[in-house]
Assembly symmetry: C2
Homo-oligomer: 393 residues x 2
């Protein structure tokens, strides 16, 4: 009965991470596998007050159908906020979406024909692989290095293949925690500017910097670019509110795709989040999240440093929610996963984040959703598994 289904869904697997999350529902397991913000950071009371205000002042209008582009005042707020990182954006360049995941779907819908070239980072965001896969592109990959991507290699790839778009998470990438440096951003922009490739910059973690100074997105250095943003990491992921920034010509097609996909994003929630933003100090709120995540990241780095053998490498991200561990060549993180489960600790094996294989000796650790005590205990458990697997070699 497989002919019932369209080709595009025949080979898309259910998310590996979802399967892992099921295993880790056991409360005795300390899980670094998920990718959730710490629920402590959710502004529950403030959202309650904002909702009350919206419903008592303009309830009927907030519950009615609205425009595909999204709530005008919220779009304007988002556009203006970019000034803080040196980006000039007009309200008409902002489309409200259901989280940045939908940004990927809409962008692929308007840009990708079957077999078009899509360049992905290696490793890359798992759900982006899934989302793009439904549009049946040819994937190409470029390895991430410490400060972004190698410009020579990028130029070479864009010169050798027809690459319609380059999907990049430029700040505190999921899964690696890597950020493109200021210099690398400029180099990448210069190369993209000389090409026909559209730079698709996904930036859900950019506000979560706790070390160093905020950087302008690559978009600020180039024209042929689409930028994604999200309230998931700074307000609430359950509300599913993100946005796309794109210039007029692409925006016109994105609006058609959005309209065909679900008419518009939840208008009630758009009104509530806007009310929350104007009635509160979002920068203070974000600073509190940054401080919390820095403590949790510092604890994770400290305990890894104390307990892991020196041949195990790991990133020390300056922000975001993830840390990336690389075991010695030839060590399987899938095998480690089974050993770690016996120690009641979980993570995501790295190969899930590779489009075309690779990463067998790597793993992703989430530090945002565990408090410091759990991080200490969980990393110690993981260290036992790591020492065990390395001693078997």
């Amino acid at each position: 009965m497989n002919d019932l289904f369209a080709d595009r869904v025949k080979n898309v697997p259910r998310s590996f991470v979802r399967e892992i999350l099921k295993v880790t529902e056991n409360p005795e397991i300390i899980s670094f596998a998920g990718g959730l913000p710490n629920p402590k950071t959710f502004p529950v009371k403030e959202i309650a007050r904002a909702t009350e205000k919206v419903l008592s002042n303009e309830g009927s209008s907030a519950l009615q159908y609205s425009t595909t582009e999204g709530y005008g005042k919220l779009r304007d707020y988002i556009a203006k906020r970019y000034a803080r990182i040196g980006l000039k954006v007009g309200k008409e360049e902002v489309l409200i979406t259901n989280g940045s995941q939908q940004c990927i779907d809409l962008t692929a819908k308007v840009l990708i024909n079957k077999d078009d070239g899509v360049l992905m980072e290696k490793p890359t965001y798992l759900a982006a692989i899934q989302s793009f896969s439904l549009f049946e592109p040819q994937f190409h990959t470029i390895p991430l290095i410490e400060d972004g991507v190698n410009p020579v290699m990028l130029r070479d790839i864009l010169g050798s293949y027809d690459i319609k778009l380059f999907y990049s998470v430029t700040s505190f990438q999921n899964p690696s925690g890597i950020s493109y440096s200021k210099e690398n951003r400029k180099e990448v922009a210069e190369i993209i500017n000389e090409s026909d490739t559209v730079f698709v910059e996904d930036n859900p973690y950019g506000e979560l910097r706790f070390i160093g100074e905020d950087l302008s997105p690559v978009k600020s250095y180039l024209d042929n670019s689409i930028l994604f943003g999200s309230f998931s990491k700074i307000v609430s992921p359950g509300m599913r509110l993100g946005w796309i920034v794109a210039h007029e010509e692409i925006m016109e097609k994105l609006i058609i795709a959005k309209q065909a996909s679900d008419l518009h994003s939840n208008y009630f929630t758009q009104r509530v989040v806007y009310q929350y933003l104007v009635d509160n100090h979002i920068d203070d709120h974000i600073n509190r999240i940054r401080k919390l995540y820095k403590r949790q990241r510092d604890k994770m780095v400290e305990v890894i440093n104390d307990t892991f053998p020196p041949e195990v490498k790991y990133t020390q991200p300056e922000g975001g929610m993830f840390l990336w561990v690389t075991l010695p060549e030839g060590t399987s993180s899938l095998e480690l996963f089974d050993m770690a489960l016996k120690e009641n600790v979980a993570f995501v094996p790295g190969q899930a984040f590779y489009v075309k294989g690779g990463g067998e000796n790597s793993l992703r650790l989430n530090f945002s959703n565990s408090d410091e005590d759990k991080i200490e205990e969980g990393i110690k458990r993981l260290a036992r598994a790591v020492n065990q697997i390395l001693s078997q070699k």
Copy 2:
């Protein structure tokens, strides 16, 4: 620069109705063009109380990421509610979506390859044309008649072409107001059951019956079927909550498509709507909507009957939000639109609802979003335009 875009978006126009809605923003115009519920029917206070309860009891959890399938209790509620119209549905057969518009997108994503046959009613729901178009099917059409579709013609079409799915709005269709009779539902089900075609039954208006008895959906008579539902017409459209009912094999693919599209629907709103449903008498609320819409529909029918020339035909729907007017052959509703605008009244010309041309002498009138006084005045204005265009012939 047209090569920038994927083929699927090159020929999809912006919605005609959107363009019309812009024209009708002038407050002097009485508009029967939109398709909005009456905002008087929105349970604003009850939603405010439900939100307060959700946020004060389980705020952090309601603002966190959730499962792709949707809130379990809400899925269970939806499944059980179908018992009232004779349909047995399990919770695991329900997927929460962003309104029924997203149901179309997800269904097309999992079923439609380029050039697959899609059968549409003539006329049909405008945004469904747009949504399916992005998947580049071959459209076929079957005319709606008074009680549904002609069974002989349906059998003939399914025998003559490869039809992957038949998209049908079986109750109080938008735009025509037509409903499939009980007999016609059974006949259609019998024909579909003998074919490989999937019956896709969109039912956003089914609860809005104000004359006659509620009917079981066609799905209750067949296996190879997907059913859509929505809270947009009975609670709030701005909240964008709908659902798909499908059996396990299709559901598995729909969940993958949903996950790739936007991870999950707004969880906060799912929790709020569920709380609203359990704390209130939804059937009483729906009865109030039915009574209101019946008064408005009766007024529209009455004034049309009093003021339109007898050669103009119109449907007298037993529910829903729309009434369909057919002018004498050769009369252009596009021309009538311009004349009507001069009288400060608006509607949607019928040809917008045809996939492959037709309907030039028809128009859609919405009666849900105007009170009785406006309906009386607006229909009188429209009658002047109708009499004018017919006198010119």
